[in-house]
């Protein structure tokens, strides 16, 4: 992967941030920032203006869909990829309708996550 932009990884579960973070690092990502909830994600987005946001769907308090709406209101061009666990198809469809670029299942083996991530990068940033 030759993606050198800043990635914001948002998930309320620390073990997921660690796991997905390790995969991203192994893929060569160097600029990784983390947030553990939607509120924090929005604050960090405004501060760091990351190139890509990986956003968990189900989080307590402010869930992924609400956070996505707010991010899109701040920056209509922000690239957000949802992190889903059980394939709650409705939430994914809703997220895609709200402007999410794609989704990745975080509960699959790391090779599959890595492959899905590579595909996302190719589709979202191929024009660059």
């Amino acid at each position: 992967m030759n993606f050198k932009g800043t990635i914001l990884l948002v998930d309320d579960e620390a073990h997921i941030r660690k796991f997905v973070g390790l995969i991203l690092k192994q893929l060569g990502a160097t600029n990784l920032v983390e947030a553990s909830n939607g509120q924090e994600a929005i604050a960090i987005y405004q501060r760091d203006n990351p190139d890509l946001v990986l956003l968990d769907i189900s989080m307590p308090m402010k869930d992924g869909l609400t956070t996505l709406k707010e991010l899109k209101a701040i920056d209509p061009h922000c690239v957000v990829v949802m992190l889903s666990s059980i394939v709650t198809r409705q939430s994914i469809d809703e997220a895609l309708a709200l402007g999410a670029a794609s989704y990745i299942r975080k509960d699959t083996p790391k090779e599959e996550i890595a492959q899905a991530f590579n595909e996302v990068i190719e589709t979202c940033f191929e024009h660059e």
Binding site: E13, H15, K18, F19, L22, I86, K106, K110
Partner: protein
């Protein structure tokens, strides 16, 4: 010898409600007299029309119904009550001087539970009424029990779903992080350390599988299994599953062989769900075949249907256990050949998924040993 006194009703029948319908006020008075002594609560009506009017207000547990009355007769009143109240209708006992065999037959056909001749014997009337009230009470209790059980079952499914959902992510991370350690991403491990990590990985892997299956069962039982069908290349899907399953199979020196057909069927399926079915059938074939086996996967299609089959070299399905195959927790007496785990949920889930695709799943023992599981799916043009 003294005839036995009519038994008074069991205490739990006191206060049960009886509606007496007769156009003859004297009959109502006599019946009321003997029934009131038993502690029943009573209401009366002097015509069929009146009975239909009183019934919903009084809500009786039993109706004593005369047949010959001006206006609508007892049979008609009975049919109307049954129509209006269906299964919830109280038992209806005819009490009438119209006693030809044909009349009795018509009374039962109209939905009555009993037929008492007039002039009546009070003691006989009492025992018959008591029996019907008791049956009615049992039926009510059963209904209540079924309602409570289905509520408890729904609560169990919700709990199962929640527990499985919350266990899933941490387990996936344990497995994933173990993979990082195993693959030496954070430094080389000694053989002993590697052995421990392998154990953690295998344990979390099998727990994750169990949790996934429990979650599937909870989803299916709650009636929330949703299929999102799209046209898919079934051959490609099977090939992908076979490729992954062969990695597991290699550990038992087993080979899965799939020769795709010349023309590939494109059924309308939920790919993730059908993949789950294929994965399950392949993993069963590996699990129950002795090491060094040969598992054959076949895909066939005609104009209206396509089907795929998985042939293993295991012990086959034992006689008399066939009906357990596709049931929840329906583990058979056959055991995995490599100490693998089995929850007994896999095939039940496959069955539900295939059913949701309007397809069928079958299992047959093969003449030369082993068995074949086959799934048939409709092809819409």
């Amino acid at each position: 010898m003294e005839p036995p006194a009519a038994q008074s009703p069991a205490p739990d029948l006191k206060g049960r409600k009886i509606l007496i319908v007769d156009d003859d006020r004297l009959n109502i008075r006599i019946l009321s007299g003997i029934l009131r002594k038993q502690g029943y609560e009573l209401a009366d009506a002097d015509s069929g029309e009146k009975a239909l009017e009183v019934y919903p207000k009084f809500n009786p547990d039993l109706v004593l119904l005369d047949v010959m009355m001006p206006g609508i007769n007892g049979f008609e009143a009975c049919r109307t009550l049954k129509q209006l109240h269906g299964d919830a209708c109280a038992p209806i006992v005819f009490i009438t001087a119209k006693n030809e065999s044909d009349d009795v037959v018509e009374g039962f056909s109209a939905g009555g539970v009993d037929y008492l001749p007039k002039p009546f014997q009070p003691r006989e009337v009492l025992v018959r009424i008591r029996t019907h009230l008791q049956n009615q009470l049992f039926a009510e209790q059963q209904k209540l029990l079924v309602e409570q059980l289905s509520k408890a079952n729904a609560a169990k499914n919700r709990f199962l779903g929640m527990a499985a959902h919350d266990l899933r992510n941490p387990l996936a991370s344990v497995r994933g992080l173990a993979e990082f350690l195993r693959d030496g991403v954070v430094g080389q491990l000694t053989p002993d350390q590697l052995d421990l990590i392998e154990t953690i990985h295998t344990a979390s892997q099998s727990m994750l599988r169990l949790v996934n299956e429990l979650l599937d069962v909870a989803t299916i039982e709650a009636g929330e299994l949703k299929i999102f069908p799209e046209s898919h290349n079934l051959s490609d899907l099977i090939q992908k599953c076979v490729y992954l399953a062969n990695i597991e199979a290699a550990k038992k020196n087993t080979h899965i062989v799939f020769a795709p057909p010349g023309q590939t069927p494109h059924p309308s399926i939920d790919a993730a769900k059908i993949q789950q079915v294929v994965d399950n059938l392949l993993s069963n074939a590996i699990k129950y075949s002795p090491p060094g086996s040969h598992v054959a996967v076949e895909l066939r299609a005609n104009d209206t249907h396509c089907s795929f089959g998985v042939k293993d070299q295991g012990p086959g399905i034992p006689e008399g256990e066939r009906d357990k195959l596709f049931k929840d927790f329906g583990r058979l007496s056959v055991k995995p050949t490599g100490g693998e785990k089995s929850t007994g949920l896999g095939l039940a889930i496959c069955h539900k998924i295939v059913e949701a695709h309007h397809g069928t799943i079958m299992a047959d023992n093969l003449p030369g040993g082993g068995c074949e599981f086959s799934v048939t799916l409709p092809l819409n043009s």
